[in-house]
Symmetry: D3
């Protein structure tokens, strides 16, 4: 595949790209044409279809993967593709990870692991509540599996929310073995549900930006409310259990100044906050040093609070010493 | 009325008090007796009924106003009333303001003023939403009218929540005249609803303390969720309007560090925060200097952030000058 | 009128502009010419008079409104006006609001309202003190009526200081009705005087920038000192009353970190701080969303502390529902 | 002298004490008596004159040093002196340092050193300004020489303000030699005047507490205003010089949060802040470890921000090593 | 065993206690006697030996476990034991956990687990460095195994430092599996060594208080220096590796304000900080809610930053639902 | 000397410059050439040697001072020197202060003053310790004399560390006379040693940047460790004295948030912090206003925390007034 950032004036292009935006416009002379934004993981590029009704131009919609054939020109010192032929691409023809940032972990695999965790939650109400989200609610599942965990900073890719949720759940599982004061079922349920509000806070890729509700209400409020709504649909869900679970969600940022309206008051809420923070910070660091040279300073990293670098690797001489 | 803090050993008492607590116990000899806590606005006093089954002892429950007749003794250097006769008091026999801290404003009067404000909200959805709380929901109205606005600090009395709500609403009404960018209906609705979560956060008098849900979830979350639930019962309630209203509630503490999970992003949310803060601070100051000598320093006042005093009053000589 | 931001190369211009700066210079060849900066509310534009002694060039000074006639050229890719004829404009020929940012409220109207407020202050010393500024001190009145309330952020226009002072005074007037613990005369006097130091802190338009004294001493100190000086001219002004009034001025930013050397210790000082903050924030918000599209996020606004947007407007369908 | 903290029931006392308070009261039987508070540097003690009109009781006023003779009894478990004879003490009879905390340095000596410093200030305006305070203004000089530099924390003794002023002035003198960018006359004048507002902020001993004006306005504002008033009495005092000097006073606490309405903007203002802070902290530390055992931890010291101890002293073995 | 807090006047006591302090004194009559402080986990109690040279009084030292027999009296309203017979107790006669707060985990078991972890560190320099502390340095091992992890707050018991070190090491081990960017050997070594400075910062039990060096230098500095010293004894220890390891120790408190002179700049330093914080907080919470009633609020907990409570336990009805 | 910032296209240059960087490269045609960076105190300039093996090109290394002769051209709109002849310059041929930022004080003079101060330290251990650095350790002395005190901000020049050390030592010497509680020998030793870790934290000029160890460990830790190592080489150095000295170094930034892992707990540590802060701030201010116009505002200065300006100078008219 020829990536969009490799196109040069005079090239002829014949490849599949994601159609991020498409609009039908009219020239000063009253002639219709289409203006598209093509996208892959390397760039966004402007494209035009000057003859939208010609035979070679098939039907398509925004966010379709499309096969395009045309010439590369330069307009206003920017690359532009003049499309002569276009058709929707078929599912097997392209690899989505060429077009969108994707979690390095398999989406089905992560989802199955999460579902398996539900079985370890024995409290019947919490078990049913988890299933009401992760097994029964198909719209939620679809969103949850595609959503990122953040606009930027960490896990900003398709599947990022699920990857983060799974990592936090595993840390919490480890905690329940090490700290016997923790209630396993409450903590594991809280871990799995802690960021579900993000499916309403962030729009799906390729946009991946704050929604209006995300900006006005935030995932902490929305996730807690979503739990209230689902729990209301489960007969006799104990009120105290619901309050304690909701508290864990409300308090998982750990401090008022980070947007939690309550600080952790239960040990499970504290543990969830620790797991969330640990995964967020270590993933942020991992992404920041990825592909960087060991031992070279990378400068101030805002979310990590300092100048960072990738650790020196252990050389052969050292290991043979 | 003889207040509890005036009782002395040897007195005979015949008056109405609030029965804060009542329990049936058994002496070492196996004899049943009752132990009560009598309360008025001056003190809590221990009382005993040694012959609970005697003819003079009528039926009653905790939190009833009861007429008691008996003798005052001292036990373990504390005053104790030995009750010989007891009956439930009738409504007209006592003045609740002798027993509980009460708003200086008439409860019915404040309630009617609030209801009148609803009529000025022309947006049909907001109008219906307000009525769903303040006109239709009797359990809510009962709680709202009796609730305080805070455990301590300010408006810590019966009717305090309504007094505060009314004062904030009036300030907001004034703002809508002075600042034309404000949306009247959104701001007035937000003002009336901003603290409704307190009916779940605080228990009723005479306890007036944080409930479990108040401690775990807080009135900001709970009030916002209550609006979600009521709005769900109104056909076609516009989603954007609901989000903007909920945002005002979530943001009304003005800053993350004061427990709002979002800072004000709409001008109405900012105005609500200003009105809430203004009434809270001026009422706190009013209560702090009440009955204090003008010109005398009262020392550090935590919520007001400094040493305060009542302003010197304008003397006759000054006015004649 | 043709605004300066509309001029294009080759235009011929014949209109009145504000002469912000004027200097007589000499070319390399020893010939005198004048370099001017013309200003209106849309732009600052360079202008030259190559024949300053020709008949068509009348007398004028910096900050005069001048009628100019000449040709528009481009020099160093910037627009330049070559002036051939020039004369001072007469008062009726132009509208100052075309040249400087102006309060949307009538200057005379605001001034008369302020003077009317003085009559409601019955304490003879405070009444006389207010008059010593707002009625007797013509130099002060002239400055006060033209001054902005800030270099940027809010009320950054001619009349802004008076508009802000009036708004704060009205809020305080409303407070005195709602909170009976407030001393009307002290609070209203403090409201009217709270920002008088700004006439020394900021230079007049078109400069509207910090003066040296503004930078070194600040309006809080200077305003408080101005009150000391005026009060010293009023026989028998009560020392306590003066201290309490000065305290209100010193404390009106509410917190040390915002430049008040004292936090509010009197309820009037607290009320003044609330009114000042309310008007500043709501005016800042109003100016920030003016002419912006409803529902569109405007990004982080520093003085307001967050991402903001103009509230969605209530559509017809909603109101008909 | 027998100190008040050494009195025991049954003692007979005949000594000179400071009469801190005196009031004439009436017993239940209608008989007049006087109630006094005697004070020395060790304690405050209650005293009574049951026969105020008897021959042995001479005239006296509050704050006089009085010779008293009487018996020590115990009333309500506190020591009480029943005075039988009383007279005003003469100046030579007592040593004030037995009664009030005093600076360890000679008051006349410190004052003369300060006056000598004035001679090194060559700028005629600053020189005259300094003399207008420290040479010409007798009421000011009297207050300045007796005032403490603080209610508690450091220099909380008679002469403390002068000792602190002299120490800060010496540090500044040293700075002017080490840092040539400093203007000697401006810095030395600012050093000498930086805390003059304290004569209005604190009452004289034995009270040594915040005055009303001290609480409402603070020494930073008042000292700066005092300079304005004195400078107004000096013909042609340069406005810029006055502003720069006043800025140094306003900014000498170094940061808004410590009560300075401006941060230091001139190098002299910064130097003054450093000198003030250095003397305050080192004197606070000196007073805190005085008479304490070397090497023993003294616990958290609020103004110094930590647990402190007196440094281990160098033993003979070490010096012989 | 009869605990010291159960002793009552008139009891006869014959049991083993820890002798915390012992001193030989002389009565006013010149007679020698001994004054002891006996200690168990419930109380410290004063004891006297009036006949120190009698036959029944054996040899012993401070901090010995001693068998004492005597009578319980009351002196100055405090319990006192008059010892008639005394001997050193043998090792098997008593259980140290009756006398000192002890880790609930077996000391030998924890130590062996730590030693086993060393085997998983393959880097020869780090492996040798760890052994130089945990295998070769007997004085260090002795201290490390007995030391607490803190004076109060969490792990304030014998073995606490080792328990905390082991828990942090296990968390880090788990991290190395979940986050592949982490260098296993560096992180595990840092985890095992992160708090070794505490053996110099805190004195051993029963004192368990800050040493002079602990107060002056702190465990972060001292631990880092200890590593420098040990590494200097290992031939060719790579300088970069040493710096990175020392950085992890210096930075493990995560932020300057918590006493780390550097914030984490390597991912291993960040991971160590997360693990340290997680174990400290969850152990603090565990200790705070131990033996407390579920669902009952325990009030503000300083280190945890809020009001806390033990989570409601899952009732039978819930699980059967 | 012709400075590099004066070079223009077409110039012929024949002068001595510092060779900051030098590399041998190969053209596309396989021909070897050299690329150099020439440096003086005005600029860094690119230079090429197209015939590196020609007779006129002598041997040299990076960081040598070299005499170059060649032509000035322009390449990619930047000045470039084509070198035809080159040789190492001899010591007397150039003045290093033309090439690197240099302290205005004589290096030998400052060093001799520091050595003289050692003689005033009578404690034999501290005296020996100081000599072990400043007299005996030639590598240290070489580094210390050339090192700057900071990468930027203040004393960022050759000799800056020594100039700062000397200034801090003099301030401390002055303190010991004014505050008798200070231990002279401890404070003077701490002053001289307080920043020695900077020789490891910063690389030498012309680089003058953070080293890896500087970034990972910091000068506070490294300087304290250097003292530990030197003290270990002095027989019987008293442990307490070493701890107190090390504490002064650890605490000299005064607060945790500025990177000191301990706050000052000894009066000498506090005094050192004050002296360090005073010199840093006054030197920063001095450098910031150097060569600036008096009375002109310079804008926000981050390290000084505000808008600053150079003080107005005293004009002749003022002095004659």
């Amino acid at each position: 595949m020829k990536y969009l950032n490799e196109l040069a004036e005079g090239d002829r292009v014949s490849d599949i790209y994601l159609c991020k935006k498409a609009a039908t416009l009219t020239t000063k002379n009253g002639k219709e044409y289409m203006s598209l934004t093509l996208m892959d993981k390397t760039a966004n590029t402007d494209a035009k279809i000057w003859e939208p009704n010609s035979e070679g131009i098939g039907d398509f919609d925004e966010l379709d993967y499309i096969y395009v054939s045309g010439d590369v020109t330069v307009f206003n010192s920017a690359i532009q593709v003049n499309i002569r032929r276009l058709r929707r691409a078929d599912d097997g023809e392209y690899d989505p990870s060429d077009y969108l940032p994707m979690s390095p972990y398999d989406n089905d695999g992560m989802y199955n692991q999460l579902k398996n965790v539900i079985e370890t939650v024995k409290n019947p109400f919490l078990n049913r509540l988890l299933k009401s989200f992760f097994v029964d609610d198909e719209a939620f599942i679809e969103s949850f599996r595609k959503c990122s965990a953040a606009k930027t900073v960490h896990h900003g890719f398709v599947g990022g929310l699920m990857q983060h949720t799974l990592a936090v759940t595993r840390l919490c599982k480890f905690y329940t073995k090490a700290y016997t004061a923790l209630d396993h079922d409450l903590l594991i349920s809280a871990a799995m549900l802690h960021d579900i509000g993000k499916v309403r806070e962030l729009s799906r890729f390729p946009e991946n930006d704050y929604t209006d509700d995300g900006q006005l209400l935030g995932h902490i409020y929305m996730g807690t409310e979503m739990i209230a709504v689902h729990a209301a649909g489960i007969a006799d869900f104990p009120a105290k259990l619901l309050s304690e679970l909701q508290h864990c969600i409300l308090a998982h940022h750990g401090d008022l100044e980070f947007g939690s309206p309550k600080t952790p008051e239960l040990i499970e809420a504290f543990a969830l906050h620790m797991a969330d923070n640990t995964d967020a910070k270590l993933e942020t660091f991992t992404e920041a040093i990825k592909d960087k040279e060991a031992g070279k300073w990378l400068g101030m990293n805002r979310p990590l609070g300092g100048n960072i670098r990738r650790t020196t690797e252990w050389t052969a001489e050292e290991s043979d010493a």
